[in-house]
């Protein structure tokens, strides 16, 4: 029995142990450098590989939902399609428009990818597996995310194309509008954990009652927070039904239409990395990070659970993309400011209420009622006030 638990633990910590073993063999002068390298390089390998896997999953999944096969020519069942796509992107000509602002045009994808990777520094992908355990980790995550908006603007503006600029304007308006609810939706989890550190938040959700884990998802504010977080995360990563910045049928591909070859692929990569990172933050905040969903399953390594949850969320995003049509711009903004924002604020209040009420079934019912009633009222109020008018632009005539 002891032997099995020991081996389970060592499999759980296999990457950490491997790192320590490698570090022990390096000269002490190089140790800090090698340590950073060993921690960073796997992130730079694993998540882009996940991106490659996700592209094939997404195209196959969407194909299945739309009654077609999806990619089926490269390799068995088309499974080597990502490799073909990558090679194609690499050997394509890199076309830069003559009118483009060369410097900014070059730096936009660089900044975008760098900012997307930065967010992974604070995400715990397993027990003792986090690059840096920052005191203000969640804040760091959002700070890195806010740099993305600037790179989107750089791409859209420097291309000197109306489609790019329109796409950039839409993207920035949408990202700013949905960044507020994204942050506010994650506040209740931070309040409950009493920590801005991602590791601290995961540890606050550790432990089981019977077989059930103490995830924040299983509280009224946790459910609402998670749903709001998922909606805002979909909008932040510009995915359907919030894909107006890239709407292929309206503005072709939005802010990165004037990019070609590998730079185009970099934009795609950064966008998917952003989606993975936000999903991972959602997992950290509400789904207990790397902890197992049932107490009897905790013998399976922590990193497996992290990636299982991540893949489940990715599947959810693909499913949504295959199901919902694109929103209109005013619907998008109205939804963010009139529905999600008030609900997120109310959710913060309920999280405070949860903390001060005595534990028990009553607390659950009270909190759920406080959240449900305004949600229903708000939905009906927004539904009935629908009247369509000709739009006027009073500063842009």
């Amino acid at each position: 029995m002891i032997a099995t638990t020991l081996s389970a633990e060592s499999i759980d910590q296999i990457f950490v142990l491997a790192k320590h073993a490698l570090l022990a063999r390096t000269p002490s002068a190089l140790q800090s450098f090698v340590s950073a390298l060993i921690s960073i390089v796997p992130l730079l390998v694993v998540f882009p590989s996940l991106f490659a896997i996700t592209t094939i999953l997404e195209r196959k999944g969407l194909g299945r939902m739309q009654n077609r096969l999806g990619p089926n020519r490269v390799g068995p069942f088309g499974l080597l399609q990502p490799a073909a796509d990558g090679i194609k992107a690499l050997i394509k000509e890199d076309v830069v428009p003559t009118a483009a602002d060369q410097t900014v045009h070059f730096f936009a994808p660089v900044v975008f990818v760098a900012a997307a990777f930065l967010a992974y520094a604070v995400l715990p992908i397993g027990r003792n597996m986090v690059l840096v355990n920052l005191n203000a980790g969640v804040l760091f995550f959002f700070a890195a995310g806010s740099v993305v908006e600037l790179s989107v603007f750089m791409a859209g503006w420097s291309s000197r194309s109306k489609y790019s600029l329109l796409g950039a304007m839409r993207a920035i308006a949408q990202m700013i509008s949905y960044e507020v609810p994204l942050v506010l939706a994650s506040v209740p989890a931070i309040m409950q954990a009493g920590s801005l550190s991602t590791v601290g938040i995961v540890e606050a959700q550790a432990g089981y009652t019977g077989i059930w884990p103490h995830w924040y998802l299983f509280t009224p504010w946790g459910i609402v927070g998670f749903v709001l977080f998922l909606i805002a995360a979909t909008a932040e990563s510009n995915r359907s039904p919030f894909d107006l910045p890239e709407g292929e049928s309206e503005i072709i591909a939005g802010y990165f239409i004037e990019y070609s070859g590998f730079k185009f692929a970099l934009f795609f990569l950064a966008e998917y990395l952003g989606m993975f990172a936000t999903s991972a933050l959602g997992i950290t905040l509400f789904l207990g990070g790397w902890s197992a969903p049932f107490s009897f399953l905790s013998f399976i390594p922590s990193w497996f659970w992290f990636f299982a949850k991540l893949l489940a969320l990715i599947f959810f995003f693909i499913w949504i993309r295959g199901t919902l049509p694109r929103l209109r711009m005013d619907q998008l903004m109205g939804f963010a400011w009139k529905f999600i924002l008030p609900m997120a604020l109310l959710n913060m209040f309920v999280a405070g209420l949860w903390r001060f009420l005595p534990a028990g079934i009553i607390r659950w019912i009270v909190c759920a009622a406080v959240l449900a009633a305004p949600c229903i009222v708000l939905s009906f109020a927004l539904k009935q006030k629908k009247k369509l008018l000709v739009r006027t632009y009073h500063f842009a005539e």
Partner: protein
């Protein structure tokens, strides 16, 4: 003065200098963003994580975007600006006054005779929790006042942006 400080200072100075020197207004804002990032790096170097990340979130994520949008909507693109404003003398006077005030304040704070800081100040390890505590207890009134100010600004912005033709209908509703 360590190498880290020197690199960060160089980035900050180069960014802000480029922001003043470049011809294209959007380039200026992007250069200024580099300066903001350098300042954020300095905060992080001093161990002030919260302030550093907030600096990036607010200045790079919001202020720079706002500036870029304002420039894009008001300026004619592709037209290089005059390198010097007509009011550069006044600008220089104000800049000098601000610099002198700040320099005096910094100098006073570190004067060895002032008994408060006779010992060289040691960087305290401030956690986010302590900042929250201070904001919610000691500085709760200033915080509330700033909140009120921002709310007023928000309402003002909404009123400016509102369609003037809606005013009539709103007054009707009020009566």
């Amino acid at each position: 003065m360590t190498a880290t400080f020197l690199i960060l200072a160089a980035i900050t100075v180069a960014g802000t200098a480029a922001a003043m020197g470049l011809r294209n207004a959007v380039h200026c804002v992007l250069a200024l963003t580099v300066g903001f990032a350098g300042v954020a790096g300095l905060y992080l170097y001093l161990g002030a994580q919260f302030v550093g990340f907030t600096q990036i979130m607010v200045y790079v994520g919001a202020v720079a975007i706002l500036a870029v949008f304002a420039i894009m909507m008001t300026h004619n693109p592709g037209q290089p600006e005059e390198p010097f404003s007509r009011y550069w003398v006044w600008g220089a006077v104000i800049a000098a006054a601000v610099f002198l005030t700040l320099a005096r304040a910094v100098h006073l704070a570190f004067e060895p005779t002032s008994s408060v800081l006779a010992v060289p100040p040691q960087a305290p390890d401030i956690t986010v929790q302590q900042i929250g505590d201070a904001l919610m207890r000691r500085y709760v009134l200033p915080l509330e006042i700033i909140g009120l100010l921002l709310t007023a600004a928000l309402i003002g912005a909404v009123i400016i942006a509102m369609d003037p033709r809606d005013d009539a209908s709103m007054e009707d509703a009020a009566e």
